[in-house]
Structure formats: structure tokens, C-alpha cells
Symmetry: C2
Subunit: 330 residues, 2 copies
């Protein structure tokens, strides 16, 4: 089952500035292609629009209402990371027609999802739990954290390769471990920093994952997500039925290319360094700024941040590490 | 061992219009990164510059001389497809300093390489043989054709996924079959139509292939080639030593992005359809033209051409198939 966060993760690529016509055009095309779930929202999820992270052009309610009107068969999904979003945001989203609710936590902090997964279940939404930056925890740890989320009420659980760090073998090992630990569908969400998002998603499916995130033309943060229309073609060749029409999903991808983005995501050198180092792609802008300010190389800075295992929320460390690099090179 | 046709396959993406400054800038950067072989020439190889296929900005001799001057440690490679190129072209290229000579044939026509492989050996070049559109032949047939090329003198042989059609399992099966049949290094050259070029190249290496083609930012025909700098990072993570400096290859990729291309290759819907159908990406322009002329859908036309198993040189069939599609839809 394909879960399509084009209108959520893609928001990262355009500073969260999609307008109602853009949301409507893509949601309509995805609905025609029989995409099971169309996820929408600020790139960082419900409630995240802010000066610090970036203000979205539209508020959550307007985004949800617009997409809801365009969907006749596809379900509508939302994403929420506790800290940025609250249970109130979640409840409001479900009242506006969100069918599927994703609650996200750092890979070792599943406990923050407990209250929100319960809220989602109580108000009748389909509740899912996902672990961010999942390469930073062992397969066993991920399995244990996923099992916790199932205990909290999640009806599907899984992992996000937020930094685009995985090779196919890494994905297989993790999906196997999670499948052993839970009895609900397992989710995989890839990023393309090392050019492996489609292959990693195929590996996840072959290892038994059954909910795969993918976006039109790979529209998403940094090097982009798993490219939806390519994945549909690949799964079709491997005999997995996604229920999505190939002709229609190629048209939806064309709508995304023509209406949502200036250019499709590409894998630049910063993206490769971020994938190799295992650093969140959202760090690109502050890393480039800190590298310029301190006169150090941005790629060296990415690799140094990887060694420090920085995670989202630790943006203030970037300047420190840049200054250490500069001092070290003297 | 990485073989880098950025300055040959990339030529397809810019109508064969790279100038001497562009060739020099990239060759210098690749040489600094210790890329083993830098291949240069018209996209279709030696002797191919023509009105019909597309005239290159520079003649073969100017391209080779320019790149030769920039390389101090990397070898220089050339590509030749009999029919477009001749033994005279080959001899001239070796006299201008080509170290490695690739002779290409359609996947079932290895016999056309015989004379040219012999020529290459006789004049002291390293001779390699590659099979184009290799998804159109069975693993056993490819192995048999590769063995023929070894008999003709090839010192490395292998397959090109010209249409970007393979899944990793397809590659593994074919590389295994070829390795069983020959005792020389085996070559793999991928295209990214289904988003799998890096994964297919990794699969080829794990199956035992030892010469992998990859280009900076994936610069190449259609959806592009295996992205060189991503592959180097991936092979490094898997413990395969390419001898290439990561920092330097990322810089070379930046040079390619800044100086060779308007935008890096991306996987558009036509590319996905071409990969799925197994149709050569060079057909994109004539397919778009025929679709427009006959008022049929370009993607439907690509899929129909795939069913007809058309190959390069059969461009005249495109109009026929477009007219049949139009007639069939009435």
C-alpha cells in the first residue's frame, strides 16, 4: 500500500509555500490514480508552521479542507511530530476529515507518541507511528520502539530513513526485525541521498513491509523521497499490485512537475555527504550558512556533524562544530 | 574499478555541444579525484558526429587532445559502435592517446566487434567489449556473446542497460551468467529510468562485476547514468575500495553540475515508460514528435514500441506504430 506525502514532505522543497490551487491540482490527480492515502500539511506536520521552522502559506485548516474536497476515493493523511504539533491540532485535523494520522518520534523516543496515538484512536482515525532518523538505532531497538507504539494503539508502525543513509541490506535487516516484533503493517519511508530510495523501498517490500511512502517525482526534503511513479512501475514488474494505475500516476507526476516544483529534486554533493554522514537534510541551509560564516567547507562540516550524531532540534550545534573545524584546521 | 563516461554519455544530454573548456574542467577534476578511466567523445562514440545523429561541437581529434592534456594519472577511454565508427577512427583515437577502447554491439551481434577488438589489441590499446540494450537477450545469450568478444581479444566484457529496464535481481542473474562464461573483468553500465541505477550497479559489484560505469551527477542520456559520486559513497560504505577520493569526486561532480549541464538529469514520465517498456532513451525526441504529429499519447506510444521490441536504428518504425495506435483508438 502506497502512502503519498507529496503535499507534505514536498513542502520542504518549496519553503512550505504551496497554494490551494496547487494542493487541489495534485490531490485530484492522485485521487484519479487511485493513490490510497494522500498526506498533506506543513513539511514538519500539523502545528509546525512558525517563524523559526518556516511559515506555511496556508494554515492547516485551509490545506486540509482543500485536499479533502478533492479526494473522492483516496484517504487523507496528516503527519504530526509531538513538540511541533499537539493533540488539539490532531483532533482538529480529524474533524476536518483526516482519515490516517501519522505520529512521528525520534527513533529512540517512541514514548512521546503514546498520548497522541490514543487520541487518534479515540476520535476514530487510523493511527500510525513512525520513527525518524531510524539509522541511528539498532534493528532490535527499532523493533522494540515499534512494539511500544503498537501497544499505544498504532495500527501500522515503521521507520523513516530521514537522512537517506540506508543501503538495501540495512533496510531488509530492520524491516525483518520489526516484522518479528509486531503484528500490524510495517511502514518504510525513504530518502534519495545515495540514489537508493526506490531500491530501498523495493527491498522493504520484499522484506515484508506493506506501507511504503513515495512522492511524485520524488518531491521532498533534500535529495527527495522515493519516486512514486518509478516505484509503482518497479513493483508492477515484481508482481506486487499497488492498485494504482500506471498511466494515471505518470499523469499525476506530470501535474506535480508542472505545478508544484521549480525543478525535481536532485542529488547534489551536500546531499551525498548528508546521506553518508547520516545527517538530516533539513540541516542543509544552516550548514551552508555556518560554513560560509566560519570559512570552512560545507561538506567537511556535514561529515563532522555526522560524527557528532546530531539530530533535528540541535541546530545550535552547527555553529559550534563549524568553529571547531576552523580551529582544527589552523 | 570505475569507468567514467561523463564526457561521452553526458554529451547526449546537451546535443553533443560540450566545448574544450568544459571538457578540460571536468577531466582535470576527475583526474584529481583519481578516476581510473575518463571516457570522452560524441554520445554515440567515435565517428558518429553527423547531421542525422547530431553534429558534435568539436571533432573527435579536438576532444581527445583536450582531455589527454588534462589527464596525468587517469587513463583516457573512447567508445565506438561499428557502423557509426570505423577502424580508422579507432586507430586515430589510439594515436591521440586513448588508452582504453570500448567496442559496442547490439546484445545479440557481438560478431561485429571482432575486427575492431583485434585492431585495438594490435595497436596496443586496452580493448573492451560491451553489449547494448542487453535486457533484450537472456542471461545465457549474453554470456555466450561476451565469451565471443573475449575470443576476439576483449580484455573486459559486459553489458549496458541502455533502456534503464533492469531490477537488481536481473542484473545479478546476468552478471553471474557472464562471470561463469569468461575469465576477464566484467563490465556493467546502468541507466536510471526506474531510479535503480545506483542499486543495480551495487548489485553488479556484489555479483562480481569489476568495471562499473558511472557519471558525475548521473549526466547522460535520458534519465541519466549511475551517479558516480553516490556510487563511490555507497561502495565505500560496503567496503569496496574504488581508489577514488570522496571529497575530490564530490568536487568533480560540482564542476560537472556548474559547467556541463543546465540541470542534472531527472526521471520524467517518459523516462519511466521507456524503462518499463525497455525502449532506448534516444527515442524520446522522435517519439514526442510522432505522438504530436499523429495526436496520440507519447507514453502509450513508448509502451507500444516496447511491445514491438524496437531497437536503435529502427526510428522509422516510430511513425508506423504511432499511426497504428491512432487507427486502433478510433
Amino acid at each position: 500500500m502506497i502512502h503519498d506525502p507529496t503535499l507534505r514532505d514536498g513542502h520542504h522543497a518549496v519553503g512550505h509555500q504551496l497554494d490551494a490551487d496547487q494542493l487541489r491540482a495534485y490531490a485530484t490527480a492522485a485521487n484519479t490514480a487511485r493513490v490510497p492515502v494522500v498526506e498533506v500539511g506543513h513539511g514538519n506536520g500539523l502545528g509546525a508552521s512558525s517563524l523559526q521552522i518556516g511559515r506555511a502559506l496556508l494554515d492547516d485548516a485551509t490545506m486540509l479542507t482543500t485536499v479533502r474536497e478533492a479526494l473522492t476515493s483516496s484517504k487523507m493523511g496528516v503527519f504530526m511530530a509531538p513538540g511541533w504539533g499537539t493533540s488539539e491540532n490532531l483532533t482538529a485535523a480529524v474533524h476536518l476529515g483526516a482519515d490516517v494520522v501519522r505520529i512521528a518520534a525520534h527513533c529512540t523516543e517512541a514514548d512521546v507518541t503514546e498520548r497522541h496515538l490514543a487520541t487518534a484512536r479515540n476520535i476514530g482515525a487510523e493511527a500510525q507511528g513512525v520513527l525518524l532518523m531510524s539509522h541511528m538505532a539498532s534493528p532490535d531497538r527499532l523493533a522494540e520502539q515499534c512494539a511500544l507504539m503498537v501497544k499505544y494503539g498504532a495500527q501500522a508502525v515503521g521507520i523513516m530513513d530521514s537522512a537517506g543513509h540506508y543501503l538495501p541490506g540495512d533496510v531488509i535487516e530492520r524491516i525483518h526485525a520489526i516484522i518479528e516484533a509486531v503484528d500490524v503493517p510495517v511502514i518504510f519511508h525513504g530518502h534519495n541521498n545515495l540514489g537508493l530510495a526506490v531500491a530501498n523501498s523495493l527491498a522493504a517490500v520484499e522484506a515484508g513491509a506493506s506501507v511504503i511512502d513515495a512522492t511524485a517525482r520524488g518531491f521532498g526534503a533534500g535529495a527527495g523521497n522515493t519516486q512514486l511513479e518509478a516505484l509503482v512501475a518497479v513493483l508492477d514488474r515484481r508482481g506486487f499490485d499497488t492498485g494504482i494505475g500506471l498511466r494515471e500516476i505518470l499523469s499525476a507526476a506530470d501535474v506535480a512537475a508542472d505545478h508544484l516544483m521549480k525543478a525535481p529534486p536532485s542529488i547534489d554533493s551536500i546531499a551525498v555527504a548528508g546521506g553518508l554522514a547520516g545527517v538530516f537534510s533539513g540541516f542543509k541551509r544552516p550548514v551552508l550558512e555556518a560554513a560560509r560564516a566560519e570559512g570552512v567547507d560545507a561538506i567537511d562540516l556535514f561529515l563532522a556533524l555526522g560524527k557528532r550524531q546530531v539530530v533535528a532540534g540541535q541546530e545550535d550545534l552547527i555553529g559550534d562544530v563549524a568553529r571547531q573545524l576552523k580551529a582544527g584546521s589552523r
